[in-house]
Structures are given as structure tokens and as C-alpha cells.
């Protein structure tokens, strides 16, 4: 599972970086979204991967930290998702405004000379 997750994060980041380096605004925004997904997975992985472990301990059992999944990274991921999603939406609005004002989707607002 660690291997799959690591490869997934790597592929997402690589694709994201490649897209960001494109000169077209829409590709940049998709690239940033991909990197945001990768980062969220990364935060999640930092809490150590566990399968089937409860997120919190019940009060009836003896407390053993090894028994449960660390809930903090999940809370962090939740916040990070909300923030990056909101900012991506904002970025999309600016992108549309730039497209409307400049009439091109080049990130510099004009096509490079041939």
C-alpha cells in the first residue's frame, strides 16, 4: 500500500509540475489542482498508513496508542482540501477575467511572437 501511494503521489506531482510549466492558463490551473491532490495524499500518509484501525479509541478499552489511526492528519487534510479548493475556484475566476480582458489563454496575456 505504501508503494502504491508513493507512486500515486509521484505521478500526480510530476504531471502537475509538467502542466504548470505550460504557458496556457487552463493547464496551469489543472496542474495546481493535481499538485494539491498529491499534497493532500502526502499529508494523509504522514500520519502512517493503517488499514481498518479506528480513528479514535473507545473509552471501554485500555488506551493503547498503537491501536488507532492518528486522527490529526485527517483533520489537517480536511482543512487543506477546503482551502486549496476555495483558492483554486478563486484562481479560476481570475483566469476567466484574464481570458476576457486579453482575449487569449496565454499566461502572459499575449501570444509570443512567431
Amino acid at each position: 500500500m505504501e508503494f502504491i501511494l508513493a507512486v500515486g503521489i509521484g505521478v500526480l506531482v510530476a504531471s502537475g509540475v509538467w502542466l504548470i510549466l505550460r504557458p496556457r492558463t487552463f493547464q496551469v490551473i489543472i496542474g495546481l489542482s493535481l499538485i494539491a491532490y498529491a499534497v493532500n495524499l502526502f499529508i494523509f500518509a504522514m500520519g502512517r498508513l493503517r488499514v481498518g484501525a479506528p480513528p479514535a479509541l473507545t473509552s471501554t478499552e485500555a488506551i493503547d496508542a498503537a491501536q488507532y489511526t492518528d486522527p490529526v492528519p485527517q483533520a489537517l487534510v480536511l482543512t487543506a482540501i477546503v482551502i486549496s479548493f476555495a483558492l483554486t475556484a478563486l484562481f479560476l475566476v481570475v483566469l476567466l477575467a484574464a481570458r476576457g480582458l486579453t482575449g487569449t489563454d496565454h499566461v502572459d496575456g499575449r501570444e509570443p511572437p512567431e
Binding site: L32, F42, P73, I83, L87, T88, L90, A97
Partner: protein, 531 residues
């Protein structure tokens, strides 16, 4: 919870948040009401910040004040911590905010929707970022600050702003990703996000996770270095700030200092002498980053062809100065750099306002600006009826020239104004580093600082001559009384810094000394009693 005094720390965050939320209830026609609300809020924040500052200054060697949000004890709950450095940043941001807001009241607040709400949210983000004692909470406040700044950079619309804003948002989204990666690496290796708790755990880190932990800190630092616009990560700053409307640009001047603040705070707290194997981590890199930023900023300022861009480069120089002093690891130098930072931030803010006034008669007033993208949203600031009669104040040019001179002297760090006191203290610190005279780093710093003073002086003097020594037949720019008040306030703050130089320098020395004792901070946060 006892008296109101206990809740003083949270006021700079909660006041702008509540007012900004309340403002969304009123539509754009009730601008006077909004302006009044903004001014009241800002007065409240300023009062709270000054109270915190005087509290921090009077306590002498006492510990930072800690406020536990939701009454949860420190390592589990999020805390707000106000020490001398935080109080200094709060006063700086609210003073600059007051100047920018006054200036905006003349007409800029009508140039687009929701100016006041965004402005207050930006202040809230800055205040929260300097007060929080938790790394992830720092991320949240920085994002709040950035989200508000995205809106403000676009304020007034126009193609140039939208294009610069597009780059600005893309770069900062990238920086935020680095921030998150750094924070999660730190959490994964050290197991905590509370800064004080983290500082306590560093010496005990095992050797197999330490490299990973330091990697996390380095990635986190990259995010802050982008915010502080150090070379080679700061290429976006002059262009974005030059594109933003004047009051917004003045306010943005504090945002790069938030990155600098975070670097100072984390570097001294986490990697002080008590950090065991990680002590002094990254200092050399900070020194190198600071020095190259000063050099790049100087060259950039000399090559700038617009005043606003030159000011952007001088903001870079001031960030670089603080980082170089931080990397030198000398207390006196850092104290001097903090002094210079306070003076130069205020002066750069004032200079952005001045640049807009001076450019008024030069430009064809935004006629073809743009087609509207969102038909209901944008109005041209120069189209609407003036709310206030513009009066031609006699000697306008002389007064503007005086203000320009004050800003130039402060930014270049020449006597007799505040910048000089800071730079002098830096020189003394850099040249008297312990262990037998100054080393190579000290001399390089002094040489670069001197050259950058000269560069900024040449560059700004050139603009001063071109803008102010114009032939008499051209009409002098019309300036509204509130705009004068804004400028006078900012310049006045710089003059106050100069007049009370000894007192302020003493405060800075205390600040740095306090930062050098992370044990106090840690025990204050972790031992804070829950009421």
C-alpha cells in the same frame, strides 16, 4: 476568564473578522457607513496592538502572554502567543493599515466591490499569522491573508492588474503547497505542530528521522522565502506590487514582512543553541539568501523605470537585510535590522501612496481601461463624482517633496532618519561579532548594505528629480485632505521612530534577547494555566 484584559490578544483577530462579516450585509451604496465601520475597527485594532506592545515592553524580562483558544491546554489546543516580536508586527501592520485606509477613503474604496471587507480580512490574516503559536494554524492565517490579498490586488480591475494577479496567485498557490509539505513532514517526524512543543522535542529526535525533519523545515522555509521575496524566488514582487492600486500596494508592503517574521520566529525558536544536533540549522543559507537578495534588489532598483517598481525592489532589500542579520546570528545586528524593517516598511508604504499622487497628472486617466468582465462589479475610480472637493493646497509640491525626501532617507538608511539608526546598529553588530573581530560574513554584509544604500539613494533621487523638479507650467498634482492625512501619518510614524530611536532600539534589543531565550517561550506556552 476574568477581565477584558485577558482577551486583549484575540482582539486584533476577532475585531476585523466580525466587522468584515457584518459589512457583507450592506451593499456598495452605503460607502460612508462602511468607511466609518472600517475606521472604527482599525482604531480598535491599533489600540489593542499598542496596549499589547506597551504590556510587552513594560514587563521587562517576563514571559510572553499566552491565550488558549477554546480553553484547551497547549500541546492539544491552538494557542495565541503575544511576545515582543508579535506586538511589534501588530503595531506595524495596524499603523500601515491606518495610512492605507485613510488614503483609500479619498476614492480608491469605490473602485471595486467589497474593498473594506477584503481590507479588514487582510489585516486579520496578518495579525493572526503573527500571533499564532501553531504551525498549521499559521498556514490557515497565511492563506486567509493571501486570499484577501488576491482580491485586493485585482481591486480596480484593468488588464495589467488581472495579468499580474494571475501570476501572483499561481506563485502563491505553489508556495502554499510547499508550506503544506513542510508542515506535514514536520508532523510526521516530530509528532506535533505546536511550535513550543516542537522546539522542546527537537533535541530528542532520533538520528534516522532528523534528516527528514530538517528537510521538512527547509521546505517550509522555501514557502516563507517566497513570501518574503528573496532572490531567486522574489521576481514576482515588484511587478505585482506595481500593478496593485496604491493603498493596496502600501498594505502589501507588510505581507512580505510576514514571511520574514515567520523565518525569524521559527529559526530562533527551533534552531537555537538548545536544539542539539540541529542547532544553527540553515543559518548560512539565510545569510546567503539575504545577501543575494540585497544585491539583486539594488541592481533591480537601479534598473527600474517606474517609481512603483523601484519601491518594490526596496521592499526586497529590506527583507534581505533582516534575513542577512538573522543569518549572521548577532543580536545587535538583528535588533538593528528589525528597526530598519519597521522604518523601511512604513516608508515604502508611504512611497507607494506618493507614487500614485505623482503619477496622477502624467497618465491618461484610465480611459480605455477595459471591457467589463462582470458587468455589475467594476466602476472606474476616476469616473464617479468626487465625494470630496479636491483642493489645491499651496506648496503641495514642497510638501510632497519633503515627504519624498523622508521616504528616500529612510529606505536608503541615511542620517538623520530612522533607517540610519537601524543600519548603524547593524554595522556595529556585524563588525563586532564575538571571537576576535569581524569575519568575512560581517564585512560582506557591511559592504553590501553600504552599496545598497547608495543604490537606493541614486535610484530614488533620480525619480525625485524627474517627478518633482518639473517645469512650473505643469499644474501641481491635486491632493485631497485625507490623502495628505494618510501620508502625514505614515511619515509622522517614521519621524516618531527617529525621535524615540533610543527607546525603540532598546525595545528591539529586548525583543532579540527574548528570542534568544526560547526556553521562556516554551515554558510560557506549555505551562499556561487554563482559566
Amino acid at each position: 476568564m476574568t477581565g477584558l484584559a485577558d482577551h486583549l490578544i484575540i482582539l486584533p483577530i476577532i475585531l476585523p473578522l466580525v466587522t468584515a462579516a457584518a459589512m457583507l450585509l450592506f451593499d456598495e451604496r452605503q460607502r460612508r457607513l462602511k468607511a466609518a465601520l472600517s475606521l472604527l475597527t482599525l482604531a480598535g485594532i491599533l489600540a489593542a496592538s499598542v496596549a499589547l506592545l506597551s504590556g510587552a515592553a513594560s514587563e521587562g524580562g517576563e514571559a510572553p502572554q499566552v491565550y488558549a483558544l477554546g480553553n484547551w491546554a497547549a500541546p492539544f489546543g491552538i494557542v495565541l502567543v503575544a511576545d515582543r516580536l508579535s506586538a511589534l508586527m501588530l503595531v506595524l501592520s495596524s499603523t500601515l493599515g491606518a495610512g492605507a485606509l485613510f488614503f483609500a477613503l479619498a476614492r480608491w474604496d469605490g473602485a471595486g466591490p467589497r474593498f473594506h471587507a477584503l481590507f479588514l480580512l487582510l489585516l486579520m490574516g496578518v495579525n493572526g499569522a503573527v500571533l499564532t503559536g501553531d504551525l498549521f494554524n499559521l498556514f490557515v492565517f497565511v492563506e486567509l491573508m493571501l486570499a484577501a490579498s488576491y482580491g485586493l490586488v485585482l481591486h480596480g480591475s484593468g488588464e495589467e492588474r488581472v495579468r499580474a494577479g494571475l501570476h501572483y496567485i499561481a506563485i502563491n498557490l505553489g508556495a502554499s503547497m510547499l508550506f503544506l509539505i513542510g508542515v506535514s513532514l514536520i508532523y510526521g517526524t516530530a509528532g506535533t505542530l505546536n511550535m513550543a512543543d516542537l522546539a522542546g522535542r527537537i533535541p530528542a529526535l532520533s538520528d534516522d528521522v532528523r534528516p527528514l525533519f530538517e528537510l521538512g523545515c527547509a521546505v517550509l522555509a522555501m514557502a516563507f522565502l517566497i513570501k518574503a521575496s528573496t532572490w531567486p524566488l522574489g521576481f514576482w514582487l515588484p511587478r505585482t506590487y506595481a500593478a496593485a492600486s496604491a493603498p493596496v500596494a502600501a498594505m502589501l508592503a507588510i505581507m512580505s514582512k510576514v514571511g520574514v517574521y515567520a523565518l525569524i520566529r521559527l529559526s530562533l525558536l527551533l534552531f537555537g543553541p538548545a536544539a542539539g544536533a540541529s542547532a544553527g540549522f540553515g543559518d548560512d543559507w539565510l545569510l546567503a539568501a539575504g545577501l543575494t537578495t540585497i544585491a539583486f534588489g539594488t541592481v533591480g532598483a537601479l534598473g527600474a523605470r517606474e517609481l512603483t517598481r523601484a519601491v518594490g525592489f526596496s521592499i526586497m532589500i529590506s527583507s534581505g537585510t533582516v534575513l542577512a542579520a538573522l543569518g549572521l546570528g548577532d543580536d545587535r545586528a538583528l535588533a538593528g535590522a528589525l528597526f530598519y524593517m519597521a522604518g523601511s516598511t512604513l516608508a515604502a508604504g508611504a512611497l507607494y501612496l506618493l507614487a500614485e499622487i505623482l503619477a496622477r497628472d502624467d497618465i491618461e486617466i484610465v480611459e480605455d481601461a477595459s471591457e467589463q468582465v462582470f458587468a455589475d462589479e467594476y466602476q472606474d475610480p476616476f469616473d464617479q463624482e468626487t465625494r470630496e472637493e479636491a483642493i489645491a493646497i499651496p506648496l503641495t509640491v514642497a510638501v510632497l517633496g519633503g515627504a519624498f525626501l523622508a521616504c528616500t532617507l529612510t529606505l536608503a538608511g541615511l542620517p538623520p532618519l530612522a533607517g540610519f539608526i537601524g543600519k548603524l546598529a547593524m554595522f556595529i553588530g556585524a563588525l563586532s561579532s564575538e571571537g576576535g573581530g569581524p569575519g568575512f560574513a560581517g564585512w560582506t554584509t557591511v559592504a553590501l548594505l553600504t552599496l545598497s544604500s547608495l543604490g537606493v539613494l541614486i535610484c530614488l533621487a533620480r525619480f525625485g528629480v524627474a517627478e518633482l523638479w518639473v517645469p512650473a507650467e505643469e499644474p501641481s498634482p491635486k491632493v485631497r485632505p485625507v490623502e495628505f492625512a494618510a501620508l502625514a501619518g505614515l511619515i509622522g510614524a517614521v519621524l516618531l521612530l527617529t525621535l524615540f530611536g533610543g527607546t525603540v532600539m532598546g525595545y528591539m534589543d529586548q525583543t532579540v534577547a527574548g528570542l534568544g531565550r526560547p526556553g521562556e517561550y516554551i515554558s510560557a506556552v506549555l505551562g499556561a494555566e487554563i482559566r
